[in-house]
Amino acid sequence: MNTCRIAAWLVALAMSAFCAEARAARDYISIVGSSTVYPFSTTVAEQFGKTSKFKTPKIESTGSGGGLKLFCSRVGADTPDIANSSRRIKQSEFDQCRNNGVTEIIEVKIGYDGIVLANAKNGQRLQLSRRDIFLALARDVPDPDREGQTMANPYTTWQQVNPDLPPQKIEVLGPPPTSGTRDALVELAMEGGCEEIPWIRALKEKDENRFKGICHTIREDGVFIEAGENDNLIVQKLDVNPQALGVFGFSFLDQNSDKVQGSLVDGKEPSFEAIAAGEYPVSRPLYFYVKKAHVGTIPGIEEFLAEFTSERAWGEEGYLSDKGLIPMPEDERASVGMAVRNLTPLVLP
């Protein structure tokens, strides 16, 4: 029974240690959301925490959808103040927010993220067009013999897609359908390529569902490999397998430029300058959303916004560009920055 008593004392002590803390109110900013925005958001947060009198914000990587759900759940200290998103907020999410009392949301567009198709350095650099990407990756491709008909994608090498390309097996490691990166690949690269085929472009007006069904569906016969969202792993897999092409964000190409090379898309190299100038076709905007009701209640939100939208953060030479964020053009930065300073809420119908 002695052991029992010792155990009781131990448990009691542990409990008192636990209870010893007051349940203090939140004095730091809470941010949730996309894993794509996470590296940028954390960089600003760290800078903010070290140079201001406020605590460093807490940033969770939950995915855009999960983040916005938490964000929209209600107003209050136990809900996040900011939601990062790799896509624009949806109408349904906006409505949900409004129904839950989160009526005023400030939208902040922070810059662009390029999506690259890259392969290992020891492989041959590909010069793709968006049409090639579409033909190589779509589940159904137009039948060359029958106008207006599709067939299951028969192509297995890049040469079959386009005679100028090498006779290399098509093998693409890319994100799963739940990913915003995949969404951008489909909308920007594949749909763009899709529209170059005249009868499909004609479909766009007539039968939009069929148009999107053709352009937006990626093949599932093992040529496009859904490889999860760990982009570092994709880079390392490419290193082992020189045939394969990987789809990931520009910052990983930037950091691993000695290991992998980005394929040219429509003749444009995925470089910082080309993406910033809007020449490289596959890039998407990144956002975060702020709960206006929390501004002034949770300490530091305004100062954090000011830090994020300062030139030294998101400017052309800012520290975010070192992390791989592609800055917006100057006038766009100015207008977004103005909206943030005035805390102008987002208006959707």
């Binding site: 636990f18 730091y28 954390t42 947060a45 760290e46 969770e60 570092n232 990983f252 992390k323």
Partner: protein
């Protein structure tokens, strides 16, 4: 044997004839056993080796020796923390390479020092204001790209466009190395800092403390509850529908994917009980629910293996059922229960998926100081670093894994100690 047919061999003859084969089978069996163990140990060694070779270099970090002038003009009298420390670092670098004039070259030059260098100076000044106005030689952390080059993780022979460090920078680096102003030193930051986006400033203390708090909660809840549940089910419960339900339930919970426990934690602990997000106490509760089945199953198995004669003897001399169990059966079953608990805790220590839903997969710079402060845990930190683009995080990921494995080894050693003290064989 009594029916001794003349032609048929005797039993002894059959035995002797088969003896060679049986001995061979015996040796074979033993060899297979040994092979199984050796192969698993080999795999473990391989795993360790690959992690250690990748992560060992992270325990050292490049430092730059700079002559910093703590000028009075750069200080902010009201707020020492807000001085222009970055400017001091830049000034020192400029003095060392006065030939650098163009704006882009300057940017490259200043890129050699880590953004953390300014914070280091800031701490120095805040700690000792008397250094203001003097000039000191200070070892300051270098940028992670430079660090990677020094450690040989970056090939300097590839064309300039494919490198993050440019040719001019390489020349400066060679210059600095010759002057002895660039050196690899032990990386204390790694053990004393929280998370950071700059690899050279990132540390695991925050995650380690988070893991500690989480595991304390898990251990203090799951061990007593698990053992109590196992004792009840194994020793007291009569076989009926209700105990069958409980038993199936427990076995089933062991197979529930861990992220589902996260969903449960979100619904129950956060939304219903209103506990704070990202707090180690919630993580501990969720991990408790997750490890309970493992502990209960292992504890039951070890209770089952206590021979009934022990119980009968105790009951025979007049002990009550409760006394029998707590005084005689439990001490004998404890080593097995400890084994189960250690495996369960090891799993809890390495688990990240359920913590996602309760907000512990997060970027947290400040080291948590209690059970209710936002925290993350080691496996989550490893996962987050493994997903970071910066090259220098690769070795830090492995280094964090080494630390995690170190904790595992310590935990297991504790279990061995206890097991050796208690284990009995019948």
């Amino acid at each position: 044997m009594s029916r001794n047919n003349v032609g048929a061999p005797s039993t002894m003859e059959i035995v002797h004839r088969n003896l060679g084969r049986r001995y061979r089978a015996e040796r074979r069996f033993r060899l297979i056993g040994l092979l199984a163990i050796v192969s698993s140990l080999l795999f473990l060694a391989l795993l360790f080796l690959s992690i250690v070779t990748k992560g060992a270099s992270a325990f050292r970090q490049s430092f730059l020796l700079l002559d910093i002038h703590f000028s009075e003009e750069a200080m902010n009298v009201d707020n020492l923390a807000a001085g222009d420390y970055n400017g001091m670092v830049k000034e020192a670098l400029r003095k060392m390479f006065p030939e650098v004039k163009s704006r882009s070259d300057k940017k490259l030059l200043f890129g050699l020092a880590s953004p953390g260098a300014a914070f280091r100076l800031q701490q120095m000044v805040v700690a000792d204001t008397s250094i203001i106005g003097s000039t000191r030689s200070v070892w300051l952390p270098a940028d992670d790209d430079l660090d990677m080059l020094l450690k040989g993780h970056v090939d300097r022979l590839v064309p300039e466009t494919e490198r993050r460090l440019k040719d001019v920078q390489l020349a400066w680096i060679d210059d600095l190395t010759e002057q002895g102003r660039l050196r690899l030193k032990f990386n204390t930051t790694f053990f004393t800092a929280g998370d950071s986006r700059e690899p050279e400033l990132a540390g695991i203390l925050g995650a380690t403390m988070g893991s500690f708090y989480t595991l304390v909660v898990t251990l203090f809840l799951s061990f007593p509850i698990g053992v109590a549940a196992a004792i009840y089910l194994e020793e007291f419960a009569s076989r009926n529908r209700w105990t069958d339900i409980i038993e199936v339930n427990i076995n089933n919970l062991a197979a529930v994917p861990s992220i589902v426990f996260g969903l449960l934690g979100l619904a129950v602990f956060l939304n219903f009980f209103g506990l704070p997000r990202s707090a180690p106490v919630v993580g501990g509760l969720v991990l408790t629910l997750m490890t309970l089945p493992t502990i209960i199953i292992a504890s039951r198995v070890s209770l089952q293996s206590v021979p009934p004669s022990i119980r009968e003897a105790a009951l025979g001399v007049g002990a009550s059922k409760m006394q029998t169990v707590f005084h005689h059966v439990l001490p004998l079953a404890l080593p097995g229960m400890l084994t189960g608990t250690i495996i369960g805790m090891a799993r809890a220590l390495g688990e990240s998926a359920p913590l996602l839903m309760i907000g512990m997969v997060a970027f947290i710079v400040d080291v948590p100081k209690g059970f209710l402060e936002p925290a993350t845990v080691l496996p989550v930190q490893i996962y987050l670093w493994a997903d970071s683009p910066e090259r220098a995080f690769v070795e830090r990921t492995s280094a964090a894994i080494i630390v995690l494995l170190g904790f595992l080894i310590v935990m297991n050693a504790a279990a061995v100690f206890m097991r050796n003290r208690f284990e009995r064989r019948w």
